[in-house]
């Protein structure tokens, strides 16, 4: 299992659209993916879970991956956070 701390960079935070992009990307990997924010953990492949985080711009969270392709999965997901979910 590997993990990485990230900060939300885009203005919308993890609202509907960015949440959908994140979930779709995570679904391409076999690894399990969990997000922990303020001690609360949800499945990163579930949109209703991600929406529940109510993560705003500036929020910090820990991404946890475990599975055969965990390294690739983490690289891709972290990059999406870095890009600010491609929000303008």
């Amino acid at each position: 299992m590997i993990e990485r701390e990230v900060t939300i960079k885009n203005r919308a935070g993890l609202h509907t659209r960015p949440a959908a992009t994140l979930v779709k990307l995570a679904a391409q990997f076999k690894s399990d993916f969990f997000i922990n924010k303020d001690g609360f953990e949800i499945n990163g492949k579930s949109i209703i879970g991600v929406m529940t985080l109510a993560a705003e711009q500036g929020a910090e969270m820990i991404l946890r991956f475990s599975g055969e392709d965990e390294n690739d999965a983490m690289a891709a997901v972290v990059e999406l956070f870095e890009r600010g979910f491609d929000e303008q």
Binding site: R11, A12, G13, H15, T16, R17, A19, A20, V23, A27, N43, K45, S46, I47, I48, G49, M51, T52, A54, E56, E87, Q88
Partner: protein
């Protein structure tokens, strides 16, 4: 001036007028019945059939939602249609549904119970979120959960009505408002919601009268109870007497007739018989209103409430999005002028990221927010400037309470101009700048503010509530909110006189500007510009065109000598009745 007759068994309630028009008809109670969820243990042999039932319910829910989604896009355009996107996405959440299916298998409990229990976990968390956007999504999650449960019980949603009726409900989800509108709906009446609720927005777009925020109304009516809703003033009458019924039928007819007749005034100027020219312009919230603004013959837009752009949005719109939007407004009115007011958020108005304040009306709102959120402010200023290249755009700052705020705001405007110069983007370098006079402090320093702006616009709604220390949404004291309080009248005179002495245009964009009872008084006080809701344009124009400025001055002089609101109102009412016997009376309250 509510002079409608009343009888003992009729009930008069007051709500928030959300969409204009009068509806008279039987009520139809729309219950968002919570599907009853029983917990039942399954025999292992029943499990597969139960899972199948759930699969079918999910499929049906998806079909329903797609139908609503398409209908919304067709009726309201892509943007508004997106209200329903979150629900569709959740319906495709395989993690959620895998968990639900697994739980049914392992816990051997019925699908309805597990669906309720599993989704409720998320719903509870979202409903208690600090984030307003997330709390709104909680309603979506709840609506979706109930949809699945209803489909599990194979109930049909009652959305086909037998007769035309006024829909009465505690709350209407966007989906309900829309679906119900396929039937012959005369009006909407709800217990919760404000002017910016989904119901209000959709009702206006669909041109169906609506009154919202009428507490406990559902318990006061039965199926078929006769109801009148007045979407102009927010009055709701249950069990109207014969007399009231006639009054409102008459009011409805008069409005229709009057509106037809006023159409002739459209292309005539708002000028008094003795030659005083008044700018009669419109308050606008939505682009959808523009056509109506033209039909009603406005001289321009005196107030565009830019914060309506934020409705239902997750984030502040980008500079480009805003620039396109403002350009659309400016182009559609060209060569007439439009005044864009920068985002007025806070107070009771929406906020992208809510902050808790014990007294929001005295808190972080209007220009105060923008001077803290400078990125948002700069984006908006550049966007407004970009729309100004044809020189028909003015810019206005809300909630200014001292001159430092004005200077700071202007400094950002200059910075925005420099950005555009550097980027070689054309704009109106001499764009006119104004401030709202809605804080008593600003009114007191009118002359100082006037020296540094091109125009002033009096926002009476806030000005009156700050001046009289009355929260008009507070039932206990709302009767103390008096437009015609002598203090208000004298304060207005002061603002208008001081402003004009400095050579700036003084306008008014509060509700008072659109109150026909106030027109002659305001005209006599010397107001240069009236900015009113599009619906009131012809009526105000008619009064201006038939009243000599000389007479109006006399009226104002007399009113300034009166000491109670009652005296002011009865004097104006008597004056109006004599001069304008055909104007429909009994507007609002």
């Amino acid at each position: 001036m509510s002079d409608q007759p009343r009888q003992a068994n009729e009930i008069l309630l007051k709500g928030i007028p959300a969409a204009p028009g009068i509806a008279i008809g039987p009520s139809l109670i729309f219950h968002k019945t919570l599907p009853i969820v029983e917990e039942r243990l399954l025999q292992p042999s029943e499990v597969e059939a139960e899972l199948d039932r759930l699969r079918q319910a999910v499929a049906r829910s998806k079909k329903e939602l797609q139908k609503i989604f398409r209908f919304a896009e067709e009726k309201l355009g892509d943007e508004e249609g997106k209200i329903f996107e979150a629900q569709l996405l959740i319906l495709e959440d395989s993690v959620l549904f895998d968990t639900i299916f697994l739980r049914i298998r392992t816990e051997l409990r019925n699908a309805g119970y597990i669906v309720y229990d599993e989704i409720e976990k998320y719903h509870r968390l979202m409903a208690s979120s600090r984030d307003e956007y997330t709390r709104e999504r909680a309603l979506d999650v709840e609506d979706l959960r109930n949809r699945i449960l209803r489909n599990l019980q194979e109930e049909k949603l009652v959305s086909k009505l037998q007769t035309s009726a006024i829909v009465v409900s505690h709350v209407l989800a966007a989906a309900d408002t829309l679906i119900l509108s396929r039937n012959d709906i005369l009006g909407y009446l709800t217990e919760v919601g404000g002017v910016t609720s989904h119901t209000a927005l959709l009702a206006r777009a669909l041109k169906i009268p609506a009154v919202v925020g009428v507490r406990h109304v559902v318990s006061m009516v039965k199926e078929g109870t006769p109801v009148i809703i007045d979407g102009y003033g927010g009055n709701v009458i249950i069990h109207p007497s014969e007399e009231t019924l006639r009054f409102y039928q008459e009011k409805k007819r008069k409005h229709k007739e009057f509106e037809d007749r006023l159409a002739d005034l459209r292309d005539l100027p708002a000028e008094t018989p003795d030659g005083r020219q008044i700018e009669l312009v419109a308050n606008v919230e939505l682009v959808e209103e523009l056509e109506f603004v033209h039909v009603q013959g406005a001289d321009g837009i005196g107030l565009y409430r830019s914060e309506t752009l934020l409705l239902g949005k997750e984030v502040f719109p980008t500079e480009d999005e805003q620039a396109d939007h403002y350009a659309l407004l400016a182009d559609s009115m060209f060569p007439k002028m439009i005044v864009i007011r920068t985002f007025d958020i806070g107070g009771d108005k929406m906020m992208a990221h809510p902050v808790r304040e014990s007294n929001p009306f005295l808190g972080w709102r209007g220009i105060r927010v923008m001077l803290d959120k400078t990125n948002v402010f700069m984006d908006q200023l550049r966007a407004i400037l970009r729309a100004s290249s044809r020189k028909n755009v003015k810019i206005m700052f809300p909630m200014v309470s001292n001159i430092k705020e004005l200077r700071e705001a202007r400094r950002y405007l200059e910075e925005a101009k420099r950005d555009l110069v550097e980027a070689n983007i054309p704009f109106d370098e001499k764009i006119k700048v104004g401030v709202m006079i809605e804080v008593p402090a600003a009114a007191v320093i009118t002359e100082d503010l006037a020296k540094e702006v091109d125009f002033l616009s009096i926002g009476t709604n806030d000005l009156i509530q700050y001046l009289l220390a009355v929260d008009r949404s507070n039932d206990i004291v709302s009767s103390l909110y008096q437009e015609f309080h002598p203090a208000v009248v004298r304060f207005l005179r002061r603002i208008i006189e001081r402003g004009k002495k400095e050579g700036v245009t003084v306008g008014m964009c509060g509700e008072m500007a659109g109150d026909p009872l106030a027109t002659v008084l305001l005209l006599g006080l010397g107001l240069d510009e009236f900015s009113v809701v599009p619906m009131m344009l012809p009526e105000i124009k008619k009064i201006i065109r038939s009243t000599k400025y000389r007479d109006a001055r006399r009226v104002a002089k007399h009113v300034l000598s009166l000491q109670t609101e009652d005296e002011v109102k009865s004097y104006l009412l008597a004056w109006m009745k004599k001069r304008f016997p055909d104007i429909p009376q009994g507007e609002g309250s």
